[in-house]
């Protein structure tokens, strides 16, 4: 079975941690993405996933700052047409984040 390579980055208020996993095993744990690339040269690619955890995100939402619009693509019509993406977001947050919304036909059969 192929080895699954994942990078986990946690950008906190004071420290940043970057970790490379091969399956469940921690290959390297350092304090920046650059340091991780440097330390593990060659071993990072091909990468399966990057997981980012950061209080920047929480802060951006709470403070409504540094937010970028995103598009929402929902694959599921003809189901759920009456409730659009963002329908239950707080109005001011949705106004800053909601980009274009696409509802496309899907296979709603579960």
């Amino acid at each position: 079975m192929a080895i699954m390579k994942r990078i986990g980055i946690d950008v906190g208020g004071t420290n940043t941690d970057a970790v490379l996993f091969e399956n469940e095993r921690v290959v390297a744990a350092v304090n920046s993405l650059n340091a991780l690339i440097h330390k593990t040269e060659g071993r990072i690619a091909p990468l399966d996933a990057v997981m980012i955890g950061t209080t920047h995100f929480t802060n951006a939402v709470v403070q409504r700052r540094n937010l970028t619009r995103v598009a929402a693509v929902r694959i599921g019509l003809p189901a759920s047409a009456s409730l659009q993406p963002f329908v239950d977001w707080p109005d001011d947050l949705a106004a800053r984040v909601r980009g274009r919304v696409f509802l496309v036909k899907g296979r709603p059969r579960v």
């Binding site: 599921g76 189901a79 759920s80 047409a81 409730l83 579960v110």
Partner: protein
């Protein structure tokens, strides 16, 4: 109303959240819903009994849609060759409390202040109309595509349940239905009356108590003349989906004075039996509700989780369900328990 309906769901009925979002959207579009007292119905008025049928879990992905809710009502009118005077809910517990409001907002029919369960139950033969021996057919059913089914006759309520459940499963385990139409006379005689206003009152009392920094659980008990059965923390939940039901049990460990004792709940979509210290303390048809101790809001059988601080309360069942005939339909034996009805309320 959504908060109240979720409490009256007694753990089941499906969360009213998506239905609530739908009705809020419709109100923002300028649609309005009128509530009608059952006494305002003429004896020969025709009333549509609506529900969203199927597995609440599927409803979390295939969101309820007002336009689909209207379809079986129009199909029933076409089948009967007669127009409805009003619309009412099959069950006031959970999301189906709001289903007639969605239909009403799009059709301008009024919503009758009544339902057929006074809570939530999983099956067709558990309605007050079934207890009253009223005719179980016809039924119309619509799905999200363009499928429409009419069950024009069924030999009994149980047969209607079996046939319509089969169709519902085939179209994806969720469908909008219009149950056997009722006359105004039948609704007044056999409906469980004023349950919409009950859900609204309950849903108002909980946030109101929170605003006053009062105990929201106490507000529920006071309004519904309920009993507090147990207060504690969820220690264990065992849940499995079988034959279209969410079955399982949960164990609540005591806090405060009850630290060494435990309360065990068994559920089939809704909470069916509660055991205190190993002995049955409460059974259906009484409403066994698990409330979040802090917020006073209901916790459903599908959202119960380890570690939640909960208060188990019992609310009295509608009188009709406590009769011998009623218990045949909705007592513990109707749910497969070899138990007699146990109630913390006086007979």
């Amino acid at each position: 109303m959504a908060i109240g309906a979720w409490i009256l769901g007694a753990g089941g009925g499906g969360s009213p959240y998506h239905s609530f979002l739908n009705i809020r959207e419709l109100y923002e579009q300028g649609r309005r819903v009128m509530l009608m007292d059952p006494s305002a119905l003429n004896d020969d008025d025709l009333v549509a009994v609506v529900s969203n049928m199927g597995a609440p879990l599927v409803g979390q992905e295939r969101l309820c849609d007002p336009a689909i809710a209207v379809k079986p009502v129009r199909a029933m009118e076409a089948h009967l060759g007669r127009a409805f005077r009003a619309v009412m809910s099959l069950e006031i517990g959970g999301g189906n409390a709001i289903q007639p409001l969605l239909v009403a907002a799009l059709t301008d029919l009024p919503v009758v202040d009544a339902d057929t369960m006074g809570r939530a139950y999983p099956e067709a033969q558990m309605t007050s109309f079934a207890i009253g021996g009223l005719r179980p057919y016809p039924l119309t059913l619509s799905d999200i595509r363009d499928n429409e089914v009419i069950v024009s006759r069924a030999a009994s309520w149980k047969w209607m349940e079996r046939i319509s459940r089969q169709v519902c499963t085939e179209v994806g385990s969720i469908a909008a239905t219009c149950k056997a139409p009722r006359t105004g006379k039948e609704v007044k005689e056999w409906g469980i009356l004023h349950t919409v206003t009950k859900a609204i009152a309950l849903g108002g009392a909980v946030p109101d108590a929170r605003r006053r920094h009062a105990d929201p659980v106490a507000a529920v008990l006071e309004l519904e003349r309920g009993r507090l059965l147990f207060r504690g923390r969820v220690a264990d939940v065992d849940r499995r989906t079988t034959e279209g039901f969410l079955r399982g049990s949960a164990r609540v460990e005591g806090l405060d004075g009850d630290r060494t004792l435990e309360f065990r709940l068994e559920f089939q979509n809704e909470f069916a039996v509660g055991f205190y210290d190993g002995k049955p303390r409460v059974t259906v048809p009484d409403l066994i509700c698990v409330l979040d101790t802090a917020s006073g809001e209901a916790i459903g059988t599908e959202t119960l989780r380890y570690g939640q601080r909960v208060t188990v309360v019992a609310l009295p069942a509608p009188d009709m369900q406590r009769t011998a005939k009623g218990l045949e339909h909705v007592g513990p034996r109707a749910f497969g328990y070899d138990l007699d009805y146990v109630s913390p309320f006086e007979p």
